[in-house]
């Protein structure tokens, strides 16, 4: 049964390559997207930390997104 699953009556190379290429490409795009997102979150948090305390308070009060990015970044470190 396992041999049949691997060889697939001579079509194994084509079938397994199709699934492997699809899964591998999807995994690579996921990794690239994830890393870019984390990089932007880190840069954003860094930029916020460089602001003075009063400026940072104003930004966090005015921007819900800034508050959430900071919370998400702090959770991930």
């Amino acid at each position: 049964m396992i041999e049949n699953l691997i060889t697939m009556n001579g079509y194994g190379l084509f079938v397994w390559s199709s699934f492997a290429i699809t899964i591998l490409t999807c995994a690579l795009l996921y990794l690239k997207t994830y890393r870019t997102l984390k990089k932007y979150e880190k840069d954003f948090a860094k930029e916020l930390s460089e602001l003075s305390a009063s400026q940072r308070r104003i930004v966090l009060e005015k921007s819900k997104v800034a508050t959430q990015v900071l919370a998400s970044y702090n959770k991930s470190i």
């Binding site: 084509f14 199709s18 290429i21 795009l29 997102l37 954003f44 930029e47 921007s63």
Partner: protein
């Protein structure tokens, strides 16, 4: 209605959706792969090579649907002047490009044992290559054109022009004599695919759609942060 695309309003939902998809994704992937590779029967004509269809067909559908949404959103952007639609179209494009390439590659892997050739300048395959070119131009416009407003305008024009190619891809198998087989699944009309093959196909489609949603949300979140980072000094 417009609140649904307001980044500030939906930002906290994005994280929740990402977590939800992550929690069910691998279970569904395992089920779909079991059906596609083990439980579904071989085709009476194509044999085991029919299993390639379970990745090829959803990949082709997703690439067409992605480009259609990019083009329609680009038209909406011109009519309603909603800037956030740029973030959405920009986030969809890489997903569509990847699936268009996968559709061509897996199609080629199916073509070799079935047609006896890796490649043919067939109407369906050629129109898919044209679709890939439109995707590449759309992404390159965002990458290399400055200022951003100009890039958005150029990429929207590319998407609207590219929309002409979508019915060509879809109906190429009916309009011309092609190597590619006609559609087995029809929205209006009788589908010629057996339920034992329809089931793994739909499962694989569901899994790949969830994957698209995951990548889209992560990219959209990245775009929102990029915009907010730019505006941080203005606040």
């Amino acid at each position: 209605m417009l609140d649904l695309i307001n980044p500030s309003k939906i930002f906290h939902w994005i994280e929740k959706f990402i977590n939800f998809i992550n929690s069910i994704f691998f279970i569904l992937l395992a089920v779909a792969l079991t059906f596609a590779l083990i439980l579904s029967p071989p085709d009476y004509l194509q044999g085991e090579s029919v299993r390639i269809m379970y990745v090829h067909v959803p990949a082709a559908w997703i690439s067409l649907a992605s480009f259609t949404s990019i083009a329609l959103l680009s038209i909406a952007k011109f009519i309603f002047k909603i800037k956030n639609l740029n973030l959405i179209t920009k986030s969809i494009a890489p997903i569509g490009l990847m699936f268009a390439c996968l559709a061509v590659i897996t199609g080629s892997l199916w073509g070799q044992p079935t047609w006896g050739t890796w490649w043919a300048w067939d109407a369906r395959i050629t129109s898919m290559v044209v679709l890939i070119i439109f995707y590449i131009f759309f992404i390159l416009a965002h990458k290399f054109v400055t200022p951003e407003e100009k890039a958005n305008k150029i990429s929207s024009i590319i998407a609207i022009f590219g929309l002409i190619n979508i019915p060509i891809v879809k109906y190429s198998v009916d309009w011309w004599n092609t190597l590619h087989q006609p559609a087995s699944i029809k929205l209006n009309g009788t589908s010629t695919i057996h339920s034992s093959m329809l089931m793994p196909l739909m499962l694989m489609l569901l899994v790949l759609l969830l994957y698209c949603a995951l990548i889209f949300l992560m990219k959209y979140k990245t775009e929102i942060i990029r915009i907010k980072k730019k505006n941080i000094k203005r606040i």
